[in-house]
C-alpha cells in the first residue's frame, strides 16, 4: 500500500519548490536562507544562527549554462549547481555553503565567488582522515563556520541555541531512521522512493515543519508484506531521485546505504554538554565515503552492512567523471566480491540515469542474484 498521507505530497512539493519553502519561511522569520550543496554540511549550525538551511537539489540535467565556465568532463553535479546559479534558480538563497569534498568543489567555490559575488559564501572542509588530529581541527573549522554564520545573520550563536537546534534535528534524524526500519520491513508501504523523498525533503523543509510530517507518516499503521531483493546502495546521492522508483519497480529494497541523502542524514548528533564538540564528533564518526578515510574503512563498513542487514548485493551508484568515487571503486568491488557479495555498477549524471538501460541492468542483476 502506497503511503496515502498528505506528508509525502508535502515532501514532494518541497523538492519541486524550494523557493516557495524559503518564501514561506521568510514570512515568519527575520533570518537569512542559507543554501548548501548537499554533502554533510552541519545544518544545525545554520539553524542555530537563526537561518534556514536548504539543500540544493536542482531538478533536471540543465548543464548547458555551465558550458562557458566548466569543461564537459567536469562532473555533472558541479555543472548542474553552477547552471542553477547562473540561470537564477537559487535566487531564494541569501548565502551558500560549499563543502570541500573534492578538487572540483574546491574550484567551484572560487568560481562561484568570482561569477556570482554572493554576499555570503563559505567553504566547509571536512578533514580527510580519521586520526586524532582531525578532531580538534574539525572543532576549529566548525567554530569558524559558526562565527561566520553568526556575523552574517546578526545573531551570535550561543551554546544553548546550538543545543536546541541539535535536539530538533536529532528528532528529525531519529524519525527518518525509524521510517527506514519501517521501509525495510514494509517496503510496499514505504517504498524506496517514498523514503528517499522524505530524506531529501528534510534537507529543504524547516525541521519544525518536517517533524510533524514525519510523525504523520509514522502514525500510519504498519502493514504490507516484507520481501523484495534486499540490497545496499553505495555512492554519493540517490540522484536522480527517480532511480529510487526504478529500484522499486525492479523489486529491490534498499536495506542500507552510505548516501548523503540516505543513511548519512539519519546520523544523530550526540547530545553532549559541548554541542560544537558533539557536532565535530558526529562528523568525525560519520559513515565512510569517497572523500574521507574515516576510522573505519569504507570496504569494511559496506561488507559489515551487507552482513548485518542481510543484503544480497551492493549497487554502486556513481556520477560519471567523479574521480573520488572511481578511484575507490575497483578496490571496494573486489573486497566485496571476494567475500561473495555480488555488485552492480551504475553510472549516472545529475538529473538523468537512462531509465531504460538502468531498468534492464537491474533486472539482469536481480536474475543473477536469484541464481546465486
Amino acid at each position: 500500500m502506497e503511503m496515502p498521507v498528505r506528508a509525502v505530497a508535502a515532501a514532494r512539493e518541497a523538492l519541486h519548490d524550494p523557493a516557495g519553502v524559503a518564501a514561506r519561511w521568510r514570512s515568519g522569520h527575520q533570518g537569512p536562507v542559507i543554501a548548501h550543496l548537499p554533502y554533510d554540511v552541519p545544518v544545525e549550525l545554520i539553524h542555530a544562527a537563526g537561518a534556514l538551511p536548504v539543500g540544493v537539489f536542482p531538478s533536471g540535467t540543465g548543464g548547458e549554462h555551465a558550458q562557458a565556465h566548466l569543461q564537459g568532463w567536469i562532473c555533472s553535479p558541479a555543472r548542474r549547481f553552477l547552471t542553477a546559479a547562473r540561470q537564477g534558480e537559487l535566487e531564494w538563497a541569501d548565502g551558500l555553503i560549499i563543502p570541500q569534498i573534492c578538487d572540483t568543489m574546491r574550484g567551484l567555490k572560487g568560481l562561484w565567488q568570482f561569477l556570482q559575488r554572493p554576499s555570503f559564501l563559505e567553504a566547509y572542509y571536512l578533514p580527510r582522515t580519521g586520526r586524532e588530529s582531525a578532531l580538534p581541527y574539525l572543532t576549529g573549522e566548525l567554530t569558524r563556520l559558526r562565527d561566520r554564520l553568526g556575523e552574517f545573520s546578526g545573531r551570535t550563536v550561543e551554546a544553548g541555541d546550538l543545543f536546541r537546534s541539535i535536539t530538533l534535528y536529532n528528532a528529525v534524524r531519529t524519525r527518518l531512521d525509524l521510517l527506514f526500519q519501517r521501509h525495510v520491513n514494509r517496503p510496499a508501504q514505504i517504498t524506496n522512493l517514498t523514503w528517499y523523498t522524505l530524506v531529501r525533503a528534510s534537507f529543504i523543509l524547516p525541521p519544525e515543519e518536517m517533524l510533524p510530517l514525519l510523525d504523520e507518516v509514522l502514525a500510519v499503521q504498519p502493514e504490507g508484506p516484507a520481501g523484495g531483493v534486499p540490497l545496499v546502495v553505495s555512492g554519493q546521492l540517490m540522484e536522480p531521485l527517480s532511480l529510487a522508483g526504478l529500484l522499486d519497480a525492479s523489486g529491490v529494497v534498499v536495506v542500507g546505504d552510505d548516501l548523503v541523502d540516505g543513511q548519512r542524514a539519519c546520523q544523530a548528533v550526540p547530545e553532549e554538554s559541548d554541542p560544537l564538540a558533539a557536532l565535530a564528533r558526529r562528523a568525525w564518526n560519520s559513515l565512510p565515503c569517497a572523500a574521507i578515510i574515516g576510522p573505519v574503512g569504507r570496504e569494511t563498513y559496506l561488507a559489515d552492512l551487507v552482513r548485518e542487514r542481510r543484503a544480497v548485493g551492493v549497487i554502486f551508484l556513481h556520477f560519471r567523471n567523479c574521480e573520488m568515487e572511481n578511484l575507490g571503486y575497483p578496490g571496494l568491488r573486489d573486497h566485496l566480491e571476494r567475500r561473495g557479495i555480488p555488485t552492480l555498477y551504475l553510472e549516472t549524471q545529475w538529473g538523468t540515469a537512462a531509465a531504460g538501460s538502468v531498468a534492464t541492468r537491474l533486472e539482469a542483476f536481480r536474475e543473477m542474484l536469484e541464481g546465486f
Binding site: Q100, D103, Q113, N321, M324, N326, G331
Partner: protein, 399 residues
C-alpha cells in the same frame, strides 16, 4: 628542439641514477610530489615519486597502453593520466618504462589534488602496505588557525608513522641539515628559472621541464645542489655569449601548469618557429620553497600547505599575474588539462579575467598532459597560431 648545448648534459642521468642507487637499501616510501620529503629522507626512507613515473610514461607515449590495464579493472578512461599509468603498470603484464618499485609505505598528500591521494590509497590497498594521508585543508586567504595546528599535529603523526614502519628515529639536526640543502637547491632552481627573463634567454619553461627532475626527486640532497650549481654556471656562461634557446626570440609567454608531455618537442618547435619563448609557468615555480630549519616540522607543513593548487581562485590569479609581470610576458597559454581537475576548474573565466587585468592576449588549449587520445594536433596548432598572431610588443601590467 635541439636542446641547450650544455657540457654537463650527461650529468643529469648520472645524478638521477645515483639518487636511485642510494635508495637501493632503504625502505621505499611512495610519495606525492609536493610532500615534505625532507622528513622522509631524515627518517631513512627513499622517496619514490610515482608522478614522475606518470610523466615518463606520458613522454614515452605509453600512457594509453598502461591505461588499458587500469580500465580493464574498472578505472575510468577519464581519470588522471598519471593515475591510470601508475595503476595500470601494477596490473600490466609488460612494463614499457620499467616497474614501479614495491613500497614499504605509501604517503599521500592532497595539497596538489585529491586524485593523487585516492590513487595512492588504492595503490596501498593493492600492495597491502600502510598508507598515510597528510591532509591539507585548502588555504583561503592566508594560512592560520585551525589549519596550522592541524598540520603541525599531522607532522608529528607522520613522524610516528614512519618510525613505526621501518624508519629511523627522527633526528632534528639531521632534518635541519636536509632542509638547508633543500633551501639551497630551491634558491639555485629559482635563479636558473629567472634566466628566462633575459632577452634573449638561454633557458625557458620547456627546458625547465627537462631539468626539473632533481628539484622534484632529490630535494634535500647534496646531489641536487651540486647539479644545479653546475647547470646555473653553464647557463650563465651561455647567456654571457648571447645564446638564445629560441633563436630570434621575439616574444615571451606564460604557460599555465604542466606541459603536454608526449608532445613536448612539438610544442617547443612550434613556439620556437614563431620566435616565442615559453618563459615561465606556475608548474616550474612550484618547486621553490623556503623552509625555516629552526622550526623544521612546522615550516615544512606550512610551506607545503601553500602549494599554489591549494590556494583559492583569487590567489592563484594573483600568482599568475605576478609571474607574468616578473617575466615581462606578451601573452599567456592556459592548459585545460583533462587529467587535472584541480587546475582546470574555472580556467575559462581565468583566461577572461587575466586578459582584463593585464591587457594581454591569452588562449586556452584543450588537451591532456599524458594521454594523446585527447590531443588534436591540427586544432591546437590552429589555436596557437591564431594566438601567436595576436602577440605584440607589450608587457604584463604590474600588480
Amino acid at each position: 628542439m635541439a636542446g641547450i648545448p650544455l657540457p654537463s648534459a650527461g650529468r643529469l642521468k648520472d645524478i638521477l641514477a645515483a639518487g636511485q642507487a642510494q635508495g637501493a637499501d632503504a625502505p621505499v616510501a611512495w610519495v606525492t610530489a609536493v610532500f615534505p620529503a625532507e622528513l622522509i629522507r631524515a627518517m631513512g626512507f627513499y622517496p619514490y615519486y610515482p608522478e614522475n613515473f606518470g610523466a615518463v610514461a606520458a613522454a614515452k607515449k605509453v600512457t594509453p597502453a598502461l591505461s588499458r590495464a587500469a580500465e580493464a579493472r574498472g578505472y575510468e578512461a577519464d581519470l588522471c593520466g598519471y593515475a591510470r599509468a601508475g595503476l595500470g603498470d601494477c596490473l600490466a603484464a609488460v612494463h614499457p618504462v620499467g616497474s614501479l618499485p614495491k613500497p614499504t609505505v605509501i604517503l599521500g598528500a592532497n595539497n596538489q589534488c585529491s586524485t593523487l591521494a585516492r590513487w595512492f590509497e588504492a595503490a596501498a590497498r593493492d600492495f597491502g602496505v600502510p598508507y598515510f594521508l597528510l591532509d591539507f585543508p585548502p588555504v583561503f586567504g592566508s594560512l592560520g588557525e585551525p589549519v596550522q595546528s592541524y598540520l603541525h599535529a599531522q607532522m608529528l603523526e607522520l613522524a610516528a608513522f614512519l618510525a613505526l614502519n621501518g624508519g629511523v628515529p627522527l633526528d632534528t639536526d639531521r632534518l635541519a641539515g636536509i632542509i638547508d640543502l633543500a633551501n639551497e637547491a630551491c634558491d639555485l632552481w629559482r635563479q636558473i628559472l629567472a634566466l628566462a627573463r633575459l632577452r634573449p634567454a638561454p633557458f625557458g619553461f620547456i627546458d625547465a621541464c627537462v631539468y626539473m627532475a632533481p628539484i622534484v626527486t632529490l630535494r634535500g640532497t647534496p646531489a641536487a645542489v651540486e647539479y644545479y650549481r653546475l647547470l646555473k654556471a653553464e647557463l650563465l656562461t651561455l647567456a654571457g655569449r648571447g645564446y638564445a634557446v629560441v633563436p630570434g626570440e621575439r616574444y615571451k609567454v606564460y604557460w599555465d601548469h604542466i606541459p603536454v608531455w608526449p608532445r613536448l618537442r612539438w610544442a617547443a618547435d612550434l613556439f620556437a618557429a614563431h620566435g616565442v619563448l615559453v618563459a615561465t609557468s606556475q608548474y616550474a615555480e612550484a618547486w621553490y620553497h623556503r623552509f625555516d630549519s629552526s622550526r623544521p616540522l612546522e615550516s615544512l607543513a606550512e610551506s607545503y600547505a601553500l602549494a599554489f593548487v591549494n590556494r583559492d581562485f583569487e590567489e592563484r590569479l594573483r600568482q599568475k599575474q605576478v609571474l607574468m609581470a616578473n617575466y615581462g610576458v606578451d601573452g599567456f597559454v592556459l592548459l585545460s588539462n583533462r587529467s587535472c581537475k584541480a587546475t582546470s576548474v574555472g580556467l575559462y573565466d581565468k583566461q577572461r579575467e587575466l586578459t582584463r587585468r593585464t591587457g594581454l592576449p591569452g588562449v586556452v588549449l584543450e588537451a591532456d598532459m599524458a594521454d594523446l587520445a585527447f590531443f588534436d594536433e591540427d586544432q591546437l596548432t590552429e589555436r596557437l597560431e591564431l594566438f601567436f598572431a595576436r602577440l605584440g610588443p607589450g608587457q604584463a601590467k604590474d600588480l
